[in-house]
């Protein structure tokens, strides 16, 4: 399943806020076509790591390599265009836009986003919009949001928002999809559907990096799990191995909250 | 029709004569006829019946032989908002004092003032002008330099004359004579008086200019400097004064360092007040003399600043017209205080307009372009009140109006030429120290 070179690699990531080191020498790799989980207790530095990898925070030190290329100096949108697309921990669905508009926003290489094409209604733009419509319909159906397509995203429930965010990210056809707590607030029945959907996508060659609180779910879903604590990587490997790592258990249940 | 009603406007009961404005109806035949048509559809008035009860079917505002609507388009707010009330009181004095317009009555009718605020902004001035036009005023007491250039076109287009008591800008020197008039001399004239006084009487050769950074003040200042150079003097530097500044200390310092012997400082009261404060604090009296602009030559200003602070400072103003003392009395009687800046010229503007209608024999917008020049320049019997002028006109005499702010002798472009006086603050009052005749000051 894995190729020789990892699709995504973090090398010695470091980030401090004020005097506080949030992420310290974090390194890990994500192989193509795998699902990788990032776990750890609150404040372990998972979200910061996520933001560093996707470019929403500037690195103090370290490298982020995508297909071997260092993208550490690229902006979030440039990294996204290279195929690394994220969702957010707290849903950032665009509340004042309709569900369908949210989805269409994910479309890449859209001529209609150029002023002149938008004004003249260029055929290429209209064509692209049609494609997006079809794709969005598929995804919305799958996610059970089709009925809500003309609803403002702000009127959706928390779980529905999570789904919408996932769908919007999928609209970009990413190589590596980075999901920040994708299952939070999603009802259990749907969670199962989602998990199988993620597995299917993985089997089609998509790569996932997932931050999740629900350790059990991560263990069942992921090909590889990275455990973090206090801004450092404690352990990394197959779920079975990580599951039994004492230091991680200590971190989770070791008395400090 | 909403309008500003005055105490003197009591109406005339059943004897009120009715006027029908034929063109009023024509004006409503469509948007098309009215905009930009220079003939001014509404400008002819025809006398109709004596019947007090008949409402006109013209639909315009001229339904009665009641008051004649005249505009007062002045700055009541904004940068020059302090002038509007002065103008208002001047106009009011012209209307309601003994021998005033509303006592003697123009063609048997009183005058009713419609006020509009220019807010000292051109766009508001245009709205105000058009509002007055729509209210059917026949002419108006006009606005300040800051907005006048935007009104020249509309005045010509609508044939609605403006007689401004406060527009000094030299930009208007070559404009006017038909629909644009002023009863205050051009800054060019006052500035010549100032430059002359500095050069001849004070013996200075090095001048610097300071002015509030607006149209009117800069215009006056530039004219003064120019004439001072013509006389053989030297203008060393120009310092604009930002009206929003909270001090002019560095500007005063700059003037002190410039080596100027005299500074022509033209600004309205706010800027002048702060400038003089900083001037005194900096001890700049030892370095240069100060010549002030028209706007501050009031006793109120001396009072505000303190008589000892102002002692010896020099300004210049149009030498009051022959009727000034009478005006002063009337103004004090009506308003309980001395007239403010431009009140006397506002008085003249109002009286002149009323006389023009009297002379025309009917109330029409053509009265101002037809008669204002002759009314001001004579030849004929000198009059200084509306009542006297009306009487003379009714007797078939030619008249020459001599005003309160100025003798009001117009040139061909509607600017009054008259004597100017240099005034010096002495014991809390402005004392005339030198008078220049109109001939002295003409180019």
């Amino acid at each position: 399943m894995t190729t020789s070179e990892p699709l995504l690699e973090a090398r010695d990531l470091r980030k401090t806020f004020g005097g506080l080191t949030a992420v310290d020498d974090v390194s890990f790799t994500v192989d193509r076509g795998t699902i990788v989980g990032l776990i750890g207790p609150n404040g372990a530095g998972k979200s910061t790591t996520f933001n560093l990898v996707t470019g929403f925070y500037d690195l103090d030190d370290g490298e982020v390599r995508l297909r071997g290329e260092n993208v550490a100096d690229l902006s979030p949108e440039e990294r996204s265009q290279k195929g690394m697309v994220r969702t957010f921990q707290i849903t950032r669905e665009l509340t004042g836009m309709k569900v369908r508009e949210n989805m269409h926003l994910g479309g890449q290489d859209h001529d209609g986003e150029k002023v002149l094409h938008a004004l003249t209604g260029a055929p290429s733009a209209r064509e692209r919009e049609k494609e997006l419509e079809a794709r969005a319909e598929d995804l919305l159906e799958t996610l059970g949001l089709w009925e809500l397509r003309d609803e403002y995203a702000g009127n959706l429930s928390g779980g529905q928002r999570k789904l919408l965010e996932l769908g919007r990210a999928l609209m970009t056809d990413p190589d590596v999809l980075m999901l920040d707590e994708p299952m939070a607030g999603v009802n259990p029945r749907l969670t199962e559907d989602l998990l199988s959907m993620i597995r299917d996508l993985r089997d089609d060659g998509m790569t996932f990096l997932i931050v999740e609180h629900d350790v059990e779910m991560i263990m069942s879903l992921c090909d590889k799990v990275i455990g973090m604590h206090n801004g450092e990587v404690l352990t990394a490997g197959p779920p079975e191995k990580v599951q039994d790592d004492d230091r991680l258990l200590e971190a989770y249940f070791g008395g400090e909250v | 029709m909403p309008a500003r009603k005055r105490d003197g406007d009591t109406g005339n009961g059943i004897n009120r004569r009715q006027y029908l404005y034929g063109a009023g109806a024509a004006a409503l035949t469509g948007l098309a006829g009215c905009s930009g048509d220079g003939s001014g559809g509404g400008s002819t008035a025809t006398e109709a019946s004596d019947d007090g009860g008949t409402a006109t079917d013209s639909g315009s505002n001229s339904e009665s032989g009641g008051p004649i609507p005249i505009g007062n388009l002045s700055p009541f707010s904004g940068g020059l908002g302090w002038i509007g009330p002065n103008s208002r009181r001047g106009v009011d004095t012209a209307l309601n004092a003994p021998e005033g317009v509303n006592q003697a009555k123009v063609l048997g009718r009183t005058v009713e003032i419609h006020e509009q605020d220019t807010e000292t902004k051109p766009q508001s001035a245009i709205s105000g002008f058009k509002t007055l036009d729509s209210q059917g005023v026949f002419s108006m007491v006009g606005p300040s330099s800051s907005v006048m250039p935007s009104l020249v076109g509309p005045a010509q287009d609508t044939g609605l004359a403006i007689v401004s008591p406060m527009t000094g800008t030299i930009q208007l020197d070559e404009v006017g004579g038909e629909y644009i008039w002023r009863t205050v001399p051009s800054d060019g004239v006052g500035a010549r008086a100032q430059a002359r006084y500095a050069y001849n009487e004070m013996g200075h050769r090095k001048m610097a200019l300071a002015f509030k950074n607006d149209k009117g003040s800069q215009s006056f200042s530039a004219a003064s400097g120019d004439y001072f150079k013509n006389l053989g003097g030297e203008v060393l530097t120009e310092v604009p004064l930002d009206p929003a500044a909270s001090s002019y200390r560095s500007e005063v310092k700059k003037l002190q360092d410039s080596g100027a012997e005299v500074v022509s400082m033209t600004a309205a009261t706010e800027v002048s007040g702060l400038f003089i404060k900083n001037y005194v604090e900096a001890g700049a009296e030892d370095d240069f003399d100060l010549l002030l602009g028209n706007d501050v030559l009031t006793e109120g200003f001396i009072e505000e600043m303190g008589a000892d602070v102002m002692e010896g400072m020099v300004g210049q103003a149009p030498a009051p017209g022959p009727a000034h003392d009478v005006f002063l009395e009337k103004h004090k009687e009506l308003h309980g205080k001395a007239p403010g800046a431009f009140a006397a010229s506002a008085y003249d503007s109002m009286v002149l307009q009323a006389l023009a209608y009297q002379k025309e024999g009917e109330v029409t917008r053509d009265a101002i372009p037809n008669h204002l020049y002759d009314l001001g320049n004579g030849p004929g019997k000198k009059v200084s009140t509306f009542a006297a002028g009306k009487k003379a006109i009714e007797n078939g005499e030619e008249i020459n109006y001599v005003g309160a702010g100025n003798p009001q002798n117009f040139d061909k472009t509607g600017d009054p030429l008259g004597p100017f006086a240099a005034l010096q603050a002495t014991d809390g009052k402005w004392k005339e120290v030198k008078v220049y005749s109109a001939e002295d000051l003409s180019k």
């Binding site: - | 909270s246 702060l274 604090e281 602070v309």
Partner: protein
Amino acid sequence: MAGLDPQFIWFGIVSGSLIALGALGLTLIFGILDFINIAYGEYMALGAFVAFSLNVEFGLPLFVGAIVGALVVGPVAIALDKAVFQHFRNRSAIVLLVVSIGLSFVLRNVIRIVWGSGSKRFDVPIEEAPTYFGVRILADQVGIVVLSLCVLGGTYLLLRRTDVGIAMRAASDDTDLARLRGIDTERLVLYVWLIGGVIAGTAGVMLGLDAQLRPTMGFTALIPIFAAVILGGIGDPVGAVVGGYAIGILQEASVVVIPSEYKPLIGLILLVVGLLTRPDGLFGEATR
């Protein structure tokens, strides 16, 4: 081009004192309430005009008028918060900014109606300033500088030594955190309006003493005050004061180099540069 005249430094210290005072009050309010209060300029003007009424219309000594004028603004600021800002507490900083613009229009025009739109002066004589060491120094100006320093010092002590002040600093650093720690932020808001208002009133009176009183006096003073707040780091009282003096002195000294009509440019440029050099803007929020 003349060399740097010590006279300009003194002018700079005087105007710096005024800017610092204004910036101090504004930054305190800013720190707790997290929005730009455009109406702050009108708070300053209000203090000055109240002092004017007492001093000129009622003939009381200026210092009495000044004290009352300054103190009155505190309760007024609280009242305006109750009447207006409180209702927008959970709205965005932008909405609050626009609301404060509306409020500033209301206040400024109320001032115009009550006191007229012309300029006013306190009942103090205009005199030539005596010269010390080649610098002309007015007693009024010394008063302004000394009083400003007293208020600045007093506020510093208040923030360092009193419970309210310490809570205020905590809340200014992070409002949410302060709330978690059990600080009653709504009560703090009242204190901050009170203190900020009184400082604004004081600044207004001082400004009126140094220059003259106009309904727009506070509004026109705002830009250098904002610049000081931003240069000093938003919500940082010491920074605001340092920024205030820096801008005052730079602005006055600038006339040696640039034409005096461009003097306001200094405040404008510093404001823009101050904002732009702060990566990610507001408290570097994107990285929090």
